[in-house]
Symmetry: D2
Subunit: 190 residues, 4 copies
């Protein structure tokens, strides 16, 4: 089965601009790791007060080879103010966010951006958590407390990957591109 | 003595654009009331987490005829992102700030704005508190706890105005305009 | 008029045991200062989490000659556990409370203690605030936020004492004892 | 290998009095579940403000068949005040703690109680976390944040039990008593 076609798989990220990463990030690349996808807006008080500091804490707590935090700036209001890369760059700098953050691809000048649409998010802050195989295990709008989130992430990190034979199936091509099979020596998967 | 010439008097506000007020505000207008001047930037974490919610609480706690809260957007960094009225308007809307807020007059494209210069502020958040006669009684950089601020404001609100003869001296003209003598009956000023 | 007979005056403290003070305290002694009376129980979660730390902050913020914080251990439940001076002493030590605290005089083994009855308190935590003349200006059950309390205390501290002629009236005898007239020079009252 | 003899196994609980449980609890009984052992004292501010509310949250978050929270009142100071079951009972009632809590067996009138000695705890609050096989995986003095604790507990809950053959080895007798083999249908283990 090709990646992206499982019913509960997450749709591909559609990002106009990335920060805090030397290269664009795809969810396929992150297979084998738990992924915490945090959708926010820089003028969303609940994101600034709760969601973003929590995502930063998650990023600092878990080893990078076990879990990846990805921020997604899903601008669906005040586009003129929040839509520019310069605005987000200043925000990231002032709030000292160090995990990769992408600007969700706009759908015209005023609409809901494309990844947010594809993920069917209700608003910001939202958290989408993927297990090591890329399946959505949490799809949450609003805040969630640290203990509950920590417990979920700890459990997902501890889940074993499927046997190597099955893991090969994770490789292949879909409309996002082609993925090499993961090397069986898999540097940092645990 | 004309207003504005006392050594400890606050310099006049120089504001490019006002929000949450039907007309521009001058400190002279506010004589007779305690004034809490809060200098902030919308991308300053300490302002967003502490200073602005505190100023909003002060605004809601004290009767408007006793105390006035005035916000001042003193953009001294990230001018391209924060400098526009549209950016601040969206911010004020999302954070539900209801006290008057002015954009400190820029000094060119990248400098420290004019009121911030005149007030000799060190950064944001800053609080400047004026007593009923317009004298600076607090000039504070950083956060200050609610109990201490409440105690200062309660004390200043309780201070009697000088006798009418002296109060007349508050009227007159300076470079900001001309001020009518305060009516001696005026319990509620404005 | 003798102290204690004004309608809004606070009833006298009836205390079985004092801590953090070299001698018993009476409200009469504290005339000329604002008094914050905090009624608590050591097993009351709202007192431990909110009321007592706030009272300690008030004690540390205001000069002792302007304001006095007095704690009152008003045990009206779990008498066997909380009723002993040893229990309260250990509690005061562990929570590092440094303001004077009295054990409200028990009314038998299980009842509501006497000062709590006289003050008509509804429970703990409660705050009773007296102005410099000993009149009750706040009678509050439950928690109260720092800004509001600070504003009230700042205002009361700023209130002038009545002229000396009137102040003499504060002296005299009542059922608590006899009070010397306040010396007219006494800036710092103690 | 008999339970209790592995180097990292926890020593047996020695409890003088239990609350919130119909019968005494032993760690052997809890094999197959993650165990969070929280050592506290009712007059320890860090326990009251942080450790106990956190333990209550853990107790409410995790299913009882996956994780057990056990409180341990390890009185090593103020014995006269905190040492009685009545004092702890009132405390548990007022703070609405619903997980099982035991009074650590005193070592004479003034010493460090026996389980605390055996666990080599440095003070309160302390957290000891055991995995499903009873091995200590955390031995922590002081506070620990919710995200970190949640992540650890989530990971331990997700760890598989050893195969049935090995699990039988968990049964048997040691100096604490004799344990029946766990039924292979194991009602509630996951």
């Amino acid at each position: 089965m090709a990646p992206g076609t499982t019913p509960s798989a997450a749709p591909a990220l559609q990002v106009a601009h990335w920060f805090n990463t030397p290269a664009p990030i795809s969810l396929e690349q992150l297979r084998g790791r738990v992924v915490v996808l945090h959708a926010f807006q820089m003028l969303c008080p609940g994101c600034v007060a709760h969601g973003l500091p929590q995502s930063q804490r998650v990023h600092e707590l878990f080893p990078a080879d076990q879990l990846a935090v990805v921020g997604l700036h899903t601008v669906f209001e005040h586009h003129a103010v929040m839509g520019s890369p310069a605005a987000l760059q200043a925000f990231i700098h002032e709030y000292r966010l160090s995990f990769p953050i992408g600007i969700d691809e706009p759908d015209g000048a005023e609409g809901v951006p494309l990844t947010m649409q594809a993920l069917q998010l209700r608003g910001t802050p939202s958290l989408v958590v993927l297990d090591k195989q890329g399946h959505m295990r949490l799809h949450h709008f609003g805040t969630i407390d640290d203990l509950r989130l920590g417990a979920l992430l700890g459990r997902l990190v501890a889940e074993p990957l499927p046997p190597t034979g099955d893991r090969q199936a994770l490789a292949g091509c879909d409309d996002q591109g082609c993925l090499l099979p993961r090397p069986s020596t898999g540097a940092k998967i645990d």
